[in-house]
Amino acid sequence: MISAVRFLAPWVAMAVLFAVAPHVFVSGSALTMMSVMGTMIIFALSYNVLLGQTGLLSFGHAVYYGLGGFVAIHVMNAVIHAKLGVPVVIIPLVGGLAGLGFGFLFGLVSTKKAGIVFSMISLGIGELVSSSSFILRTFFGGEEGITTNRSALAPLFGHKFGPQIEVYYLIAAWCFLSIVAMYALTRTPFGRMCNAVRDNPERVEFVGYSPRVLRMISFCFAAFFAGIAGGLTAINFEIMNSEQLAADQSSLALFMAYIGGVSSFTGPIVGAVIVTFLQITLSDVSSVWQLYFGLMFIGVVLYAPDGVVGWVKLHQQAALRGQLWRLAPSYALVAPAFAAACVGAIMLIELANRQFQLVQSEGSAIRLFGVNLDAATAPPWIVAVLLFGVGVVAIRLLWPRIGDAWGAVNERLHSRDPA
């Protein structure tokens, strides 16, 4: 009984969170952002079925997302045109099945080998489909894309899903179901063997499994869920265009999964939320927000390869044993240095952005962190360089203290372990 409660608790909590969120964050823009987050969570999780769970690095995952969305939108238009009684709630499934179909087709070719060959095939197929979308204009709508009207489909219990709040709940429901389904997948014999194939494909053969079949099935699942995300996107924005098949969209999946953390199930969920949030808010604040993205990604690759969730999990054991306080002093020392370096870097980037444009259109005045500065004068630059430089030097000098603190923590953790 108790274990059943413990098992169900996180899921109930998540369901409650999804249900209650729009009442906590009530603004229209928040609702839009949460809707996009919902679809991106599914997209990022589907990507991690390939990367984190089966060890396949794909550079063309947007193909299944995009094709799923395009098929979904065409089906929606067909349903509207023929006045069929199909409610919009089923459309994501259409997207999913389309994704599955293409996943099977391209998977036959892609999954023969793993490693670099797989990555290169995924890149090639991605570019192939993306380039084809400019040629096949009837299906992909050319430059304008394909549009639809989601409230023109048959209503469900009186709901036509016109208002954003209704779309949010539609997305939230599908998101919840997809998360449950993908989690359940990891707890099956198939899911476990995918992990094995990620770690040691040769050994997998010698326990009776075909790595190729494992990869193929995994690929199909990933494409299926990507297609669901695509279908939800088609419903949410009521438009699909070839950008959603392009390399940038595939890169986004990689960014979200990796920044969140590929070695845990929840990593991509966290990554999708963070990246979507930054994507939407940063683009209002700075014109070079994508640069920050790329730098963040590089930072994660260099210093936190297990992503945000991985970093948090590092502290899990220590937290459970009440040892976190040992880390607090050294963290507190490094934090200001880290903040200074970040602020300095941001200043440098924004000042450079303002000052070094080839075409100076906005003058050199800039407002950073609430302070008006003139990018053409020396002082802001000096401050920026100092902040960044001092911050970096301080981090390097203070880092050994963190190492020592962790040493002390690990000692405690292991001395209490039964040998």
Binding site: R187, T188, M193, D199, V207, S210
Partner: protein, 250 residues
């Protein structure tokens, strides 16, 4: 006396270099058969050829009378032949329990099931626990395999090899790198888990060979120069000259 595994005039060349130059060998059901020979004789290559990792240039391999030459390793494994590796080849990020569990899944018929929860499968759980007990690693159940000691990893390697219930077990230098007490334990383990099965073993440690083997084959420069009981091998002049002569008398 039925033949479990049969090598029929097997040749293997890598480019112009001939590694296996015509090996014919019949391994009887239930016997414990050791293959010994100097370094570079081709013992590991023979294992790779039998288990499907590489294809013979010519010749055939038969398992229970059925031709398995050129089949994929997983196809051969499903027909009842399992092997261990000289360099430990397990799943480093998975725990001991999970490693063994992976080894049991196919033979218990679960295949690519993505609709069943693995934690609910009682047969998987029971077999994995039994395997853990057999190899003596129950206390290390949740430790990631990559962190185990060398001897523990070798024991796990054996566990994963027999996990699928194969009746022909091939062990490639199972006691390599072990000290005396570890070797003793490994021999006891091997004897226990291969009871009633056919065992083919490559070994360098002569004490292990003479302790365990019913018959010994001596492989020198890609050819078998003798196949016989341990006592007669010990007395075989050709063998002594080629191999045992360099090792101190047992």
């Amino acid at each position: 006396m039925t033949v479990a595994l049969s090598l029929v005039d097997v040749h293997k060349s890598f480019g112009a270099t001939k590694i296996i130059r015509g090996v014919s060998l019949d391994i009887e059901s239930g016997e414990r058969h050791a293959i010994i020979g100097p370094n570079g004789a081709g013992k590991s290559t023979l294992f790779h050829l039998t288990s499907g990792r590489i294809r013979p240039t010519s010749g055939d391999v038969l398992l229970h009378g059925e031709r398995i030459t050129g089949l994929q390793p997983f196809e051969i494994n499903r027909r009842g032949l399992s092997r261990s590796f000289q360099i430990t080849n397990i799943f480093p990020k998975l725990s001991v329990y999970e490693n063994l569990r992976c080894a049991t899944l196919w033979s218990l018929g679960h295949k690519y099931a993505f609709w069943r929860s693995i934690d609910r499968l009682r047969d998987v759980r029971e077999r994995s626990q039994w395997l853990m007990q057999q190899i003596g690693l129950t206390a290390r159940r949740d430790v990631p395999a990559g962190v185990l000691t060398y001897a523990e990893q070798r024991a796990l390697e054996i566990g994963v090899t027999i996990g699928g219930g194969a009746d022909v077990v091939m062990l490639d230098e199972p006691t390599a790198g072990m000290n005396n007490s570890e070797t003793e334990q490994a021999v006891a383990l091997i004897r226990k888990v291969t009871e009633g099965k056919t065992l083919v073993m490559v070994e360098h440690d002569m004490s292990v060979v003479f302790n365990l083997a019913d018959r010994i084959s001596v492989l020198v420069y890609g050819q078998i120069i003798a196949t016989d009981t341990p006592d007669r091998i010990r007395e075989n002049a050709e063998v002594r000259e080629a191999y045992l002569g360099q090792v101190s008398q047992q």
